[in-house]
Amino acid sequence: MPEQAPFTAYREPVRPEWLDYNGHLNDASYAIVLTRAHELLLDHLGLSAAYRESHQASMFTVEMHLRYVAEVSAGQTLTASTTVVEADHKRLRLHSELFADGVLAATGECLYLHVDTVAGRTAPLPEDRQAAVDALREAHAELPRPDHLGLGVGARP
């Protein structure tokens, strides 16, 4: 089966419990949306919640960088377009554009570490998961990278 490039499985309406006093998506809720979009990609790789149960290992988020672009309101539909930026035997770096009704609302980047939850330290991915990660990484190798990738907070492209 050909891989999705970029990965666009995520789609859901804004939930009322994600809104703030203004009726807009709260700062922290963008992280919820990003996490939910990335969870679908991790699930595609066989690395979601079920994997944690079956393998006593999981993808632990070590960093997340959100850039807020536009406000999001109740009634809008959220979608995401996700690229595997980099990956190796125990690390995975994802970048997503988050859209509300098709308009860019934020970008978010995450770095995940594969952790053995019993030993409490990083561990190499099992062979089949590594193959899944490699396949998606290769499918995304030629996708355009945004200008802000590799810039810290406050730096301008």
Partner: protein, 182 residues
């Protein structure tokens, strides 16, 4: 956090901003502490990623009220919006653990603020998470950034002066990357 009203609220909502010109400014600021509540736990009984941002958001809200931004200020047409947040996770948090937040003003100009948060364990002082944020002062009606009014700006200058002696946190300014060992 989410409450019965069915939306996200902060513990400081409705509390009027109070600035005391004569008060000493702590470096860093310690304006918020909390205890990890059941609704922040994930299926594995650890705090969900987005709830770290809720905790830092509550600390930021306390900071806004400290410098002079409350509901009345927003109703008059201006606010501080977050333009970027970079979170770093060091440790997991379990139900009921005491969390203490600190906040440092790294830099600013007339319309932008660069701040740094730490979350530490209330008993062991272990570093749990950090957040670097860039905020912009905005004219809500016009939908664009605008200079801070003089009194608000002076409060920021005073805090920055009080924080000038703090060390620059190691993670500040660093982008996300897989760093390959050679």
């Amino acid at each position: 956090m989410s409450n019965q009203s069915g939306r996200i609220t902060t513990p400081y909502e409705g509390r009027a901003a109070v600035w005391d010109d004569g008060a000493e400014i702590p470096a860093p600021l310690r304006l918020h502490e909390t205890t990890a509540p059941p609704e922040w736990m994930d299926y594995n009984n650890h705090m969900s990623e987005s709830c770290f941002l809720l905790a830092f958001g509550d600390s930021a809200d306390a900071f806004f009220r400290f410098i002079g931004i409350d509901e009345a200020y927003r109703a008059a047409g201006h606010s501080l919006y977050t333009s970027q947040t970079h979170l770093h996770h060091r440790q997991e948090v379990s139900l009921g653990e005491p969390l203490v937040m600190t906040l440092q003003v790294l830099d600013h100009d007339r319309r932008r603020l660069h701040i740094y948060h730490e979350m530490r364990h209330g008993e062991t002082d272990a570093l749990i998470a950090m957040a670097e944020q860039l905020l912009a002062h905005v004219d809500i009606g016009a939908g664009r950034s605008s200079d801070m009014p003089e009194d608000l700006y002076e409060h920021i200058v005073a805090i920055r002066r009080a924080h000038a002696g703090l060390p620059q946190p190691a993670v500040v300014g660093h982008p996300i990357a897989i760093r390959h060992s050679r």
